[in-house]
């Protein structure tokens, strides 16, 4: 690795000197990694890569940090702002607290994409959207090309453009999800290729598909938006993030022996205060101290210096930060410097270029814990009822705060084969005292935006502006009907059920002026499914029966049983019979001649 860095250094220096003299001074690149141990032996690793390119150079296709492949797609599809998310697993808000980046950098399970497209009208916007999804599908090796009209929605209030757009643009917001998409290494490789250091140096060198996709929760995002400063100078900003929650115990297991076998008896941590504690009886004590770990153990490799393209100005050279109490001992590689922040929990590391960096934390009794923020809203969405025909949706919103109400937008895009009955939308409020109050939905639901589905053309889009009073839980329910699909509309895979995209909740927090997003889990919808081998059997059987029965009956009905002389008489009367009779006579005469000649 050092050899590589030595080679690359003069090259990079050359490029740097070249570019610094050029006109595009606003190009820059930053990367940042935040590590935070979470309860239940988890570790949140939050990677962020951000670079800017001036609007001018973007328009002239002068790509430096912005990947050319992506830039050209955006230009071709007239996309002004793009957000792409790859997510797996579920964030356990109960034990892990608020989501990283307030949930704004994560998507629902699977792939989620939304973009603001500049187009004169809706049809053209949709045509460009299809171009965009097709191209991104190729670029990211994801099935984004399956985002068709049934999976595309146009949210009205759930998303706001994050960038600064010129008023001249006619922007159309389009949103698509693929809840069943499995995010895997094939999506990571193109993602890494977009980075300036391509996973070779800097924090991106920690990405190992085996570890990344073993995480309990993991989200990759790409955001591209124009950002304008006060003096009117605009840059195109690309921000890529990878957030993951790793299980420390699991990640530390060696790849050659990944099976969590029972530990040897002597390694069991038992509660020795129990009277029955002995060699063969053990009441386990789960947590005695904070776990020991190091970067190399968790990620399977050490951090490979810093990405030489990073701009070193101000604090951005502290590219790795760790949130543990200051009294915890942390061992770092020799060349790096540790800077402790004033908040008592954060410390950042100034890495030496081109020297591998590792960080290890010994096992230590837990005295203080890093405080985790309580999420402002809990949301849970489940399908209730059973059977193949009908079902119901139940969404529970819990407001843990005792003082303030939460206002939010609830956005749901349902596939067309799930037909909601909006008239059954029904809300109940339960206080923390457990008393149930049934109120009309209109008291809780402030505004509704509903766009009904059209079979096989578009899905249902439902946006609700809701408010949950302090210290209470709101339960929203509605009934739905399951459509019967045509048999060619079933996917050819194993019939696990149909995925329903996660709901998006946007919390309107006016105090902080940052959007907070929460996504529910995706759902599995069981549709009436034929046993595909059975119709085949039935068709064969019925065809046989019909052929036999019909054939025989038709035969009996049509055939006339007559005696031989009757038949001759019948036949002689018709024209055909007369002609045939003549022919027979001629033939007989010829035969007669033949026999005579013999």
């Amino acid at each position: 690795m050092t050899v590589l860095s030595l080679f690359s250094l003069p090259f990079v220096a050359l490029i740097l000197s070249l570019w610094s003299s050029s006109a595009f001074a606003s190009s820059d690149y930053h990367e940042h990694l935040l590590l935070q141990p979470l309860p239940q032996s988890s570790l949140l690793a939050s990677f962020n890569f951000r670079s800017n390119t001036s609007q001018q150079s973007f328009d002239q296709q002068h790509f430096r940090y912005l990947p050319r492949a992506l830039g050209q797609i955006l230009q071709h599809a007239h996309t002004k702002e793009l957000h792409l998310r790859f997510t797996t697993g579920r964030w356990d808000a109960e034990s892990w607290g608020t989501r990283p980046w307030n949930g704004s950098k994560e998507g629902g399970t699977g792939v989620e994409l939304w973009a603001w497209i500049d187009a004169p009208d809706d049809e053209e916007a949709f045509a460009k959207w299809i171009t965009l999804t097709q191209s991104l599908s190729g670029l990211f090796c994801a099935s984004l090309n399956f985002v068709d009209s049934t999976r595309t929605t146009r949210p009205v209030v759930s998303f706001e453009p994050a960038g600064d757009h010129s008023a001249a643009d006619q922007l159309h917001l389009l949103h698509g999800t693929l809840p069943g998409e499995v995010v895997c290494t094939e999506n990571l490789t193109p993602f890494l290729k977009l980075l300036p250091c391509k996973g070779k140096a800097g924090i991106s060198s920690l990405f190992d598909g085996h570890k990344l996709f073993d995480a309990a929760w993991q989200s990759m995002s790409v955001d591209i938006q124009p950002v304008c400063s006060a003096d009117g100078e605009c840059v195109v900003q690309i921000e890529q993030t990878v957030d993951m929650v790793l299980d420390i115990d699991r990640s530390k297991r060696s790849r050659s022996n990944p099976i969590p076998r029972p530990v040897p008896n002597e390694q069991l941590v038992c509660d020795t205060s129990k009277p029955y504690n002995s060699d063969d009886t053990c009441y386990p004590v789960e947590k005695t101290s904070e776990k020991a770990w190091s970067l190399a153990e968790i990620f399977g490799r050490s951090l490979n210096g810093v990405c030489p393209l990073t701009d070193f100005d101000g604090s951005s050279d502290q590219s790795v930060c760790l949130r543990v109490p200051h009294e915890r001992g942390v061992f770092i590689s020799e060349e790096a410097n540790e800077i402790k922040k004033d908040d008592g929990f954060t410390r950042c590391f100034k890495l030496a270029p081109s020297v591998p960096f590792d960080l290890s934390i010994p096992q230590q009794p837990a005295n203080t814990e890093v405080p985790l923020d309580e999420p402002v809203l809990h949301a849970e969405r489940t399908i209730v009822g059973h059977g193949q025909e009908r079902g119901g949706m139940r969404i529970i919103f819990g407001n843990p705060s005792n003082t303030s109400a939460v206002d939010f937008i609830y956005f749901e895009s349902l596939p067309w084969f799930l037909r909601p009955y909006i008239h059954t939308l029904h809300a109940t409020i339960t206080g923390h005292d457990g008393v149930l109050r049934e109120v009309p939905a209109s008291e809780i639901v402030k505004e509704t935006y509903y766009r009904p589905a059209i079979d096989r053309e578009r899905g249902t889009q439902l946006e609700l502006a809701l408010s949950v009073p302090a210290a209470s839980t709101v339960t929203l329910t509605y009934d739905f009907e399951k459509a019967i699909l045509r048999y060619t509309e079933y996917p050819p895979d194993a019939n696990r059920g149909f995925n329903v995209a996660p709901a998006v909740i946007r919390i309107l927090d006016t105090a902080h002026n940052v959007p907070i997003y929460i996504r529910s889990t995706s759902l599995l919808l069981q549709l009436p499914t034929p046993d595909f081998s059975m119709p085949y059997n039935v068709i064969i059987l019925t065809s046989t029966v019909i052929a036999l029965a019909f054939g025989t009956i038709f035969n009996i009905l049509v055939r006339r049983v007559v005696s031989l002389d009757e038949a001759a008489a019948l036949g002689a009367q018709t024209l055909k019979g007369r002609i045939l009779g003549k022919l027979v006579a001629i033939r007989d005469r010829l035969r007669g001649k033949d026999t005579k000649m013999d």
């Binding site: 239940q40 797996t88 697993g89 579920r90 356990d92 109960e94 399970t109 996709f213 073993d214 995480a215 309990a216 929760w217 993991q218 299980d247 115990d249 699991r250 099976i259 969590p260 076998r261 029972p262 530990v263 040897p264 008896n265 390694q267 069991l268 038992c270 509660d271 129990k274 029955y276 504690n277 060699d279 063969d280 009886t281 053990c282 009441y283 386990p284 789960e286 947590k287 849970e380 489940t382 399908i383 209730v384 009822g385 059973h386 119901g392 139940r394 194993a494 019939n495 696990r496 059920g497 995925n499 889990t521 995706s522 759902l523 599995l524 069981q526 046993d531």
Partner: protein, 624 residues
């Protein structure tokens, strides 16, 4: 020519065609139906079980649940034992509720410490004046990279189906929860449910899971995705066990997918070397007798339709579930059971789709032998068919004047069956008009009358069940005679009944019976078969003619015999034979109706009882 003349003879002899022949055909149907069932255990008619869903891969993984996990098992067990003994030692001082609360807290703390999400649910049911209440504790392991779309349930009730303390089972569930949490391979969430008993707890939980619970049951605070399968663990004794007893019957005779049962048998027998038993057949030597006995036991449970364990409640929601009970004294310890469950969970975890491949309708006669619905269904269908044949024959027969001579109507052998009572084409006095009003209203009325005993037997307090049954025996003796008297003499209320109407009453009654039973046969084969056999005499009950003493003697004898197969009499007889009290059975039945959604009573009181009553009325009318 001989054949031709025989057919012509038959044509000219409606008495033979409509009176003798149907009796014969009906009888043959019944005999063939019974013989058919008796043939099923033979090798030629039953099949070897096989795993149809290839994704299950039973026993293909190594089970690692051994070693130091046993120390933890013992630790948990001592902890729970301590709490239980604490309650016992203080005798009356510490009441049941306190012990339950302490146990619940302990369960929650253990599961929480293992890193699971824990929740509880309180419920209360009232049936036959008895209140059942309790609190379910359950915990969820989130699939490490999953999204709460699918889940498997592991149930360890505190009380087994036989009401024994299931301490080992509960402890094993706790140990497995801690052990499973470490694995990253789960593709589905795993839910550990610990209900206080096997009868009510799982029912309350599964109802609330689908939001179908009554008001007395709390909703679930914590949920996961679609349930793909459930396993119940029962280990109610201290010593080591010999074999596993697999219980699979669900409520209303619903059965889990045969693949689940086969997987359990394959893993227990093939991978772990533990024998698997079913239907309490301990010394099964694979002989014809034992196979038949196993099948009959299965049919009895299926026919009665009650919940045979904690797993039964899952079946109505199309969630396949079985109970694994440890039996006998042998070499296998709790870790062997744990490994079996681990392997079963791994198999279920492999599933890509809901279990759908194999059979849902089957009769098992050995752990590796079964008959599928296609083979056994004709048996119950033939018995149900006998009633329909008789009903159709009676209908056609009522189209003739009974006194008309057979020779007088050689050309009208095909009586136009389409022409109901309002026929206008009366040819040569041979086709009779049918008087339908009375027969129809009587048959419909008596079927509706069945709702009365249905309501009574599901709503009376449990201490009055025995008395009510005896009252019903008496009612069953008097009511038919009363009805017969009213019908025969009119009693000034209506015109006296004509003989044709007796045939029509019987025809409608049998038609309904045949229709109900043949429909029921596809849903609950065994119940249809049992009711069909008990109703078989009804096909052959004639209205006697002849001298008064003869009629009186024969019909009285017939009525006595019929009363012996009346629903309450059969209930009393079976209870006496099995040595259980009537009150227990009826309390259980009422409980089944109120809590499990059991439909057996509806069949008994709204199908069997009206048909039986009409049979008695017909026979009784011979007296008058």
């Amino acid at each position: 020519m001989a054949l031709k003349s025989a057919i012509r003879n038959l044509r000219n002899n409606p008495n033979l065609l409509y009176v003798r022949l149907p009796n014969l055909v009906s009888f043959i149907c019944i005999v063939v139906g019974v013989v058919w069932l008796l043939l099923l255990p033979l090798n030629e008619y039953s099949r070897q079980t096989y795993i149809s869903e290839n994704a299950l891969l039973p026993g293909q993984v190594h089970a690692y649940f051994t070693g130091s996990e046993q120390n933890i098992f013992r630790g948990y067990k001592k902890e729970l034992e301590g709490l239980l003994n604490d309650g016992q030692a203080r005798g009356g001082q510490k009441d049941e509720a306190e012990v339950t609360a302490a146990l619940s807290d302990k369960l929650q703390s253990i599961l929480q410490a293992a890193g699971l999400k824990v929740a509880t649910q309180k419920y209360e049911y009232t049936s036959a004046g008895i209140t059942h209440q309790g609190e379910n504790t359950y915990a969820i392991i989130h699939a490490p990279r999953g999204d709460a779309t699918e889940a498997i349930v592991l149930v360890a009730p505190w009380k087994t189906a036989d009401d024994e303390l299931n301490l080992n089972g509960v402890t094993l569930a706790l140990t497995l929860a801690r052990y499973f949490k470490r694995w990253s391979l789960w593709s589905k969430d795993i839910i550990f449910l610990i209900p206080p008993d096997s009868k009510t707890g799982t029912q309350a939980w599964i109802d609330a899971y689908h939001d179908m619970h009554p008001a007395s049951v709390q909703p679930l605070p914590l949920k996961s995705g679609a349930l793909q399968g459930a396993l119940v663990i029962e280990y109610p004794f201290e010593h080591r066990f010999q074999t596993l007893h697999i219980v699979y019957d669900g409520v209303n005779g619903q059965l889990p997918n045969l693949d689940l049962f086969n997987t359990a048998v394959a893993i227990a027998g093939g991978q772990m070397g533990i024998g698997a038993n079913l239907q309490e057949m301990w010394g099964h030597d694979d002989s014809y007798e034992h196979r038949l006995q196993t099948m009959f036991r299965g049919m009895t449970k299926q026919g009665l339709g009650y919940a045979t364990g904690a797993h039964s409640s899952f079946m109505p929601y199309h969630i396949d579930a079985i109970t694994l009970q440890t039996k006998g004294e042998g070499w296998e310890d709790e870790m062997a059971l744990g490994r079996t469950i681990e392997s079963l969970c791994r198999s279920l975890n492999n599933l890509l789709e809901h279990l759908h491949q194999s059979f849902f309708f089957y009769l098992l006669m050995q752990s590796n032998r079964f008959v599928s619905i296609g083979t056994y269904l004709p048996s119950a269908m033939l018995i149900a068919g006998n009633f329909t044949i008789m009903a159709i024959a009676l209908w056609i027969r009522t189209g003739y004047y009974p006194e008309s001579k057979p020779s007088a109507k050689p050309k009208n052998e095909k009586a136009p069956t389409e022409e109901k009572g309002t026929n206008t084409i009366v040819e040569r006095n041979t086709i009779a008009e049918r008087y339908l009003a009375l027969p129809l209203s009587l048959v419909v009325g008596l079927h509706l009358l069945g709702l009365v005993p249905l309501w009574v037997f599901n709503n009376v307090f449990h201490q009055y069940f025995t008395t009510t049954t005896y009252i019903f025996v008496v009612v069953d003796i008097i009511l038919p005679l009363l009805l017969a008297a009213i019908l025969s003499n009119g009693l000034g209320v209506s015109k006296p009944i004509i003989p044709q109407q007796y045939h029509l009453i019987k025809s409608f009654s049998l038609l309904l019976l045949g229709l109900s039973l043949s429909t029921l046969a596809t849903l609950n084969f065994s119940l249809s078969f049992m009711i069909g056999l008990l109703c078989a005499p009804l096909s052959f009950i004639p209205r006697l003619r002849g001298s008064v003493p003869f009629r009186l003697a024969t019909s009285s004898l017939g009525l006595v015999l019929l009363n012996l197969v009346s629903p309450p009499a059969v209930l009393l007889g079976v209870c006496w034979y099995m040595g259980v009290s009537v009150e227990t059975v009826l309390t259980q039945a009422a409980f089944g109706w109120d809590v499990w959604g059991m439909w057996t009573q509806v069949v008994v009181w709204c199908v069997w009882w009206p048909a039986w009553l009409i049979g008695c009325v017909l026979l009784g009318s011979s007296i008058f």
